[in-house]
């Protein structure tokens, strides 16, 4: 039913996609292979740089000692809590700032400073406040994700189409109606973008928190590995962390796709 030309076009498109996927796959295989090859030939110091085989050994060891899933779950758990709390709190504060322009103007410079302040610097204070446990880790992650959320969502709220605003005002809409009928729903698509940033920010915050205080989680594994000069453990931790972050990103990405249609 399609013309020959169209079929060629589709095929070209498909081939291009396949090529991209193929290259992505080859790249990682090549990298792993090269790494192992250099390690086997002793061109690199496996004590410092580890090797794919050693990483797999470490994973198996962690699996046998039944620790791996516990650490992964702890990190995911902390990330989810900070993600959800950060999003809700950030959203709420952004709505307040939209509601009260004066408050926004007053707080704007403080938000900017808080945003650019490296939150890790607050680590020692957070430990004293929250103790050496999960509470401190979540506070750390919240500090990062909430402020980013506030700034992004406020930006979306303040960029509402002025003509649509005018239209609502011509119907004598009050502020509550403007918020619920226009501001909130229009910002939704932008807000899903914020979620993508937020999930990464939460993971960053949780890892930083685990570096500082924890006794469990992937961040803890990495720190523990470095303190005992077990670089295999460190690199394994980093790889597990990147897999977690990729998974979480794609879950949010998938939700976004679903919500947009």
């Amino acid at each position: 039913m399609y013309s020959y030309e169209h079929k060629v076009f589709i095929k070209k498109n498909k081939n291009y996609k396949l090529l991209v996927n193929f290259c992505q796959f080859t790249l990682i295989i090549f990298f792993i292979y090269l790494w192992q090859f250099l390690a086997d030939k002793n061109y690199i110091n496996v004590f410092i740089l580890s090797s794919p085989k050693r990483i797999i050994d470490t994973l198996i060891k962690l699996h046998i000692s039944n620790n791996l899933y516990h650490h992964i779950l702890i990190t995911i758990y902390e990330t989810m809590i900070s993600f959800i709390l950060g999003t809700v709190i950030g959203f709420f504060i952004a709505s307040l700032l939209w509601w009260n322009k004066f408050l926004f103007k007053v707080l704007e410079p403080y938000l900017t400073v808080l945003n650019s302040l490296p939150k890790i610097a607050l680590g020692p204070i957070i430990i004293i406040w929250g103790g050496a446990g999960i509470k401190s880790i979540i506070i750390m992650a919240l500090l990062i994700s909430t402020i980013i959320t506030i700034i992004n969502v406020t930006e979306y709220f303040n960029n509402i189409d002025q003509n649509k605003l005018k239209l609502l005002k011509s119907f004598n809409a009050n502020k509550k109606q403007i918020y619920f009928k226009l501001v909130f729903p229009s910002a939704i698509s932008g807000i899903i973008n914020t979620l993508k940033i937020n999930i990464s920010m939460s993971l960053i915050g949780v890892t930083m928190g685990e570096f500082l205080v924890s006794k469990e989680g992937i961040g803890y594994l990495i720190v523990y590995g470095s303190q005992t000069f077990n670089l295999n453990l460190v690199i394994t931790g980093v790889i597990v962390l990147s897999i977690i972050s990729a998974l979480m990103y794609y879950i949010v990405f998938y939700i976004e796709k679903k919500l947009k249609h």
Binding site: N163, K166, L168, S170, F171, A173, Q177, P185, I188
Partner: protein, 248 residues
């Protein structure tokens, strides 16, 4: 004919940090019920300012606006301003929702208008599936379902193509005349003003003052697309064209 709105000595001054701009000055006019009144003038002369003041979207600086008791204003903007996350019917009912006037009678009226404008099949679709002209028609329905008797039209056709523009101005003309509504039309398009309006107010450069007022007497007054072929049509267009100080 009684006045639906009388404006006396209207003035509007905009204040910015470095400047004070008088947009409208000494504007007085009696808007007669059932008429279509067009306001034309050079761009940036403050036409929209007058409309926004009538629509109570901005405050006047001075002067008087006397509305007829049963005056209900409907505003139609230059852009369709449809909410992308609302279906067509939901968009049409937006004004009613805000005014808390949703009733089965009003919903029926909305459906009726959707049918009349060939949009009924799109009722539950989203605006991105519609063409520009269709969107503008939805915007018109959104204004009409609130049942206003004074309709403010702020360059309602400028964002759509010529063909649709002619069709839509016929539609709007018919509705206004059939239902005995009053309309104030802002436009920079002289032909459109002559084709649609009963009276035309020509404004001067800023600060806007009334430069001239015309009553359009065509030989055979009809719908706008036919008016455009009237013998007197070009005469009025010429007259008004010469009247407007164009800023190039």
């Amino acid at each position: 004919m009684k006045n639906i709105l009388s404006i006396k000595n209207l003035r509007k001054t905009y204040h910015t940090k470095n400047d004070e701009i008088v947009a409208v000055e000494n504007f007085s006019y009696d808007f007669k019920e059932g008429n279509i009144i067009a306001i034309v003038g050079p761009s940036g002369c403050g036409k929209s300012t007058i409309l926004n003041i009538i629509g109570n979207l901005i405050n006047k600086s001075d002067g008087e606006l006397i509305f007829n008791d049963d005056c209900k204003i409907g505003y139609m903007l230059q852009e369709d301003c449809l909410f992308p996350f609302r279906t067509i019917i939901k968009n049409c009912l937006l004004g009613l929702e805000i005014k808390k006037e949703i009733s089965s009678k009003n919903i029926n009226y909305a459906n009726q208008l959707l049918k009349k404008y060939g949009l009924y099949d799109f009722k539950n679709k989203y605006p991105n599936t519609l063409s520009g002209g269709m969107k503008q028609r939805v915007a018109l329905i959104r204004t009409l379902v609130c049942n206003p008797n004074l309709i403010l039209l702020d360059e309602p056709f400028s964002a759509i193509d010529y063909q649709t523009r002619l069709l839509l101005s016929d539609d709007i003309y018919k509705i206004i005349k059939e239902e005995n509504k009053t309309a104030i039309l802002i436009t920079h398009n002289i032909e459109e003003a002559v084709a649609l309006a009963d009276n035309i107010i020509v404004l001067s450069n800023r600060p806007s003052k009334i430069k001239n007022i015309y009553t359009i007497n065509l030989f055979d007054k009809s719908i706008p697309s036919i008016n455009r072929r009237d013998k007197n049509f070009n005469y009025y267009c010429d007259l008004i064209w010469k009247d407007i100080d164009f800023n190039v």
